[in-house]
Amino acid sequence: MPWDRNQMAERAAQELEDGMYVNLGIGIPTLVANYVGDKDITLQSENGMLGMGPFPYEGEEDPDLINAGKQTITELNRTSYFDSAMSFGMIRGGKIAAAILGAMEVAENGDLANWMIPGKLVKGMGGAMDLVAGVEKVVVVMDHTNKAGETKLLKSCTLPLTGTGVVDRIITDLGVLDVVEGGLKIVELAPDVTEDELRSKTEATIV
């Protein structure tokens, strides 16, 4: 049985180690925060905050305190605030240990596309290009196939790129794959998912 959204997030949380500063993207990556357990993880929100806390209690929302997804959040006793130039200084400067991001497509060489569909969806890259360029370890969490059932793990991306050769690890509903020399390498399969099934739903070279 493939992993569901929460199981993918739970699996992604295993990527995080004590003491890490981490940036979580919108969507499934946001759920990863629920599974860090008692690991000492500091979440960065690229709009200018380290030490992101949970959502506020109803009635305690603060319009001056939001995350990069524009959601109201809270601070912790370790929180610091800073401006956008410093925020991306630490991202570009390699101070963030891991970013967990969603994706539209990943190629076997680690290319990532997650910011636009020409002529259809024009939202922008936000901080994603900086994150994939600067962060030490980039983990993509996404469904293995799109709504039409087509694979999202390709020989090469068809959509405009967010970054070239930037993805280190991919966690999908079917399993975990690493970007290695020559293609993708299966690290783990979701329960009851066979290697054949994963291979059949993957265009990228599996080595």
């Binding site: 200018g48 959502f55 319009p63 305190l65 401006d83 922008g124 890259m125 936000g126």
Partner: protein
């Protein structure tokens, strides 16, 4: 040297002209210069280029300037919250220069810091890097990005003294300091103007040298996405 003005209209007097480049602070609707945006709308100035991470939402923030068609071009990283924006853009009525968020922030800071260009890995090998100079440092490829030099900065802070020393609050700081830096003239709206000496000199986020005019006013501070947890989760 009087920097405090009675209202947004007075503070922008003589500073607005068609075809100018305005840098605006804020992220989403958080920390945006609401009052100054309204005054720019009322001024009727046209063909603006606006450097701002986002373009507000329909009917609020920079969205108002889109509704009135006063903006010719946006320099932004993310415009996904604004249907009118998308419509104008897809109809070819609005120019859009996408900037990665960190590149945009750094371009503003650079412009305000006398740095006309810098190299970043961000965007290399993507559309963003097309047509830009590439240079190799230590075996890796970087692209040249240029500083932004705006004609005017409009910025929102929490508190100011009358010399323009600014303090921001929580994540409402965001793009406001870099946007403030890169303008030839910087106008700031705050929630409270305090007495000189009321701000600890060690706690000032942006020194008054970057600030030319200041107004105080009431802010709506609209929230884009209210997300909460119930007390039972605790």
């Amino acid at each position: 040297m009087q920097k405090v003005y009675p209202n947004a209209k007075a503070a922008l007097d003589g500073l607005l002209r068609d075809d100018m480049l305005i840098a605006a602070g804020g992220f989403g609707l958080c920390g945006i210069p609401e009052l100054l945006i309204d005054a720019v709308v009322e001024s009727g100035v046209k063909n603006l280029t606006v450097a701002s991470n986002n373009a507000g939402v329909d009917g609020f923030g920079l969205g108002k300037l889109l509704d009135t068609r006063q903006i010719k071009k946006m320099m932004s990283s993310y415009v996904g919250e604004n249907a009118e924006f998308m419509r104008q853009y897809l109809a070819g009525e609005l120019e859009l220069e996408f900037n990665p968020q960190g590149t945009l922030a750094e371009r503003m800071r650079a412009g305000g810091s006398g740095i006309p260009g810098f190299y970043t890995k961000t965007g290399y090998g993507t559309q963003i890097g097309e047509g830009k100079e590439v240079k190799v440092f230590n075996g890796e490829h970087y692209i040249l990005e240029e500083g932004i030099f705006a004609d005017l900065s409009i910025v929102k802070a929490w508190k100011a003294d009358d010399t323009g020393n600014l303090v921001f609050r929580k994540t409402a700081r965001n793009f406001n300091p870099p946007a403030a830096m890169c303008g030839k003239v910087c106008v700031v709206e705050v929630e409270e103007i305090v007495e000189r000496g009321a701000l600890d000199p060690d706690h000032i986020h942006l020194p008054g040298i970057y600030v030319h005019r200041i107004i105080q006013g009431e802010h709506e501070k609209r929230i884009e996405k209210v997300t909460t947890r119930s007390r039972e989760d605790a």
